[in-house]
Amino acid sequence: MGQRISDSAQKDGDSSRDGATESPNGDVFNSVELLNRCMGDRGLVDRVLNKFRSRFPGEMEEITNALKQGDADRVARVAHRVKGTAASVSAKRLFQAAADVEDASRTGRLEDVLPSIERLREEWEKCLHEAEAMSSLEHAEQAVISDLQRV
């Protein structure tokens, strides 16, 4: 099971890279893909990223607690949830990191999971930074548009 999910996760990663549009935000977010998924509505992108930012700390805490309790199954389930969210916001490196945590925890050897959890945390930090930048840029663009409308 773990191997199969890992394979599919790899395919997902590949399919994201196969996208026709180049992400302006490097490998962290494919913002063009996300904008398309949100039907071009930047307001929706903003709302989605806000939810994404507010949820992740809780998910990380849950993974850490599950790890302390030796609950590999719970680690896998939370990682799977993060993977789904990452896919929805086109955060492909976060997606891959979450898939690695899920796969490693499915094997049941939690000591092997630690490195992948660390990578997940790092990817999350990058996502958080990028999401804030995207949001600031969005607000800056809105402010310019608003100013222009008043001219």
Partner: protein, 373 residues
């Protein structure tokens, strides 16, 4: 379409909900399988999009619950999941899912798949509704059984003829012909709301009784209109409603219940109106004998332009041989069925064998008369 989206990931529900709303759907979200089942008790949701991995109750378990609990009307289930692979798809389909969409989803793909689901649901609701309503109508009036079958045959002939006429080509296509065949049996569904003393009265109705009888057009159309509110995409329901309401309208505006005239009367209502009258004239009813085809044709011709649309009458006249053939076929079938019924009863009630008015001697099976012949 009312859609229930079940996912414990609020990022997903936010995007899916917003996208589907842009495509004109009404979306409700649930964060767990338990919440979804509670919402589904309302009977409002016939299309459910659900995640596979959820806390407490997985999407697979939710699928099974839905299939076990909702067997009367079909619920179309789409699984939205990051899971892939044949094994997962087989497991999902086995649990009762109808379709799979991979995360991350593409809005256009999601909507196309929902449309496919709507088509399945339209078929399901159409067959169920027509069957149940027609059976209900049949149970009230023993005479209407074959009437419904003849009516739809007559309607198909007229609609088929119109589909080949330049004037009606844009309006009457093969779908129209199929829909009128399917929905015309529901024309008198409103009679379920008419008291037996009026519906089954063997003599002419009084003015007051006729006023009550006229209400069947309104009762029928209101009943079907309520169904249209729930399934506005179901064309057959719209046509059934129009037929129920307008099949007693007259071309000159003197009919009921709305006094519509000419082409303001829905075409399906004008077609069923003639088919209904032809069948009423040519068959025996509790209040009258059966007229011949020629007499019925003369009456219809006389009422062209007053009661009937001249175009519909023309279609009838040009296909009258088919009308006669259908009438004879059903008459022969009814006689055969009546005879079969009497024969089966005669095996248990020997006295029937000596009742020539019910059972002509020439038709009694050889040897059945025994010593009494």
């Amino acid at each position: 379409m009312r859609i229930l989206v079940v996912d414990d990931d609020d990022v997903v529900t936010e995007i899916v909900g917003d996208v589907l709303a842009r495509f004109g759907h009404h979306v409700t979200t649930a964060r767990s399988g338990r919440e979804a089942l509670e919402l589904m008790r309302s009977g409002t949701y016939r299309l459910v999009i659900l995640d596979w991995e959820m806390e407490e109750m997985s999407g697979i378990e939710l699928c099974r619950h839905i299939r076990q609990r909702y067997s009367c009307s079909y619920v179309y289930i789409i699984m939205l999941t990051v899971r892939r692979g044949t094994e997962n798809i087989v497991e999902g389909l086995n649990a009762g899912a109808d379709d799979f969409i991979s995360k991350p989803f593409e809005p256009q793909e999601l909507c196309v798949r929902i449309r496919a689901g709507e088509r399945i649901l339209a078929l399901d609701s159409r067959e169920l509704t027509i069957f149940s309503l027609a059976k209900l109508a049949e149970s009230r009036d023993q005479e209407t059984g074959a009437h419904l079958e003849r009516i739809r045959e007559y309607c198909r002939i007229i609609a088929g003829h119109l589909s080949r006429q330049e004037k009606f080509r844009a309006q009457v296509d093969s779908e129209f012909v199929q829909l009128i065949y399917m929905t015309s049996p529901l024309h008198d569904i409103g009679k379920v709301g008419i008291p037996d003393r009026i519906l089954l009265k063997p003599s002419a109705l009084t003015w007051e009784e006729f006023e009550i009888m006229k209400q069947h057009a309104v009762i029928g159309s209101k009943t079907l209109d309520a169904a249209v509110d729930v399934h506005p995409e179901a064309k057959f329901l719209c046509m059934a409603r129009d037929i129920a309401r307008s099949h007693h309208e007259w071309f000159d505006g003197s009919g009921y219940p709305d006094g519509l005239a000419g082409e303001s009367i829905p075409l399906c209502g004008r077609i069923v109106g003639l088919a209904d009258v032809y069948d009423a004239l040519t068959t025996k009813r509790v209040y009258k004998k059966a007229y011949s085809h020629d007499v019925a044709r003369d009456i219809i011709l006389e009422e062209t332009g007053t009661h009937f649309d001249p175009d519909i009458v023309r279609a009838f006249i040009e296909n009258e041989n088919l009308f006669v053939k259908i009438r004879e076929q059903f008459l022969a079938r009814e006689e055969f069925e009546a005879l079969s019924l009497l024969q089966s009863q005669a095996k248990f009630i020997p006295e029937l064998l000596t009742a020539p008015e019910f059972f002509p001697e020439r038709m009694i099976p050889a040897g059945a008369m025994g010593g009494k012949s």
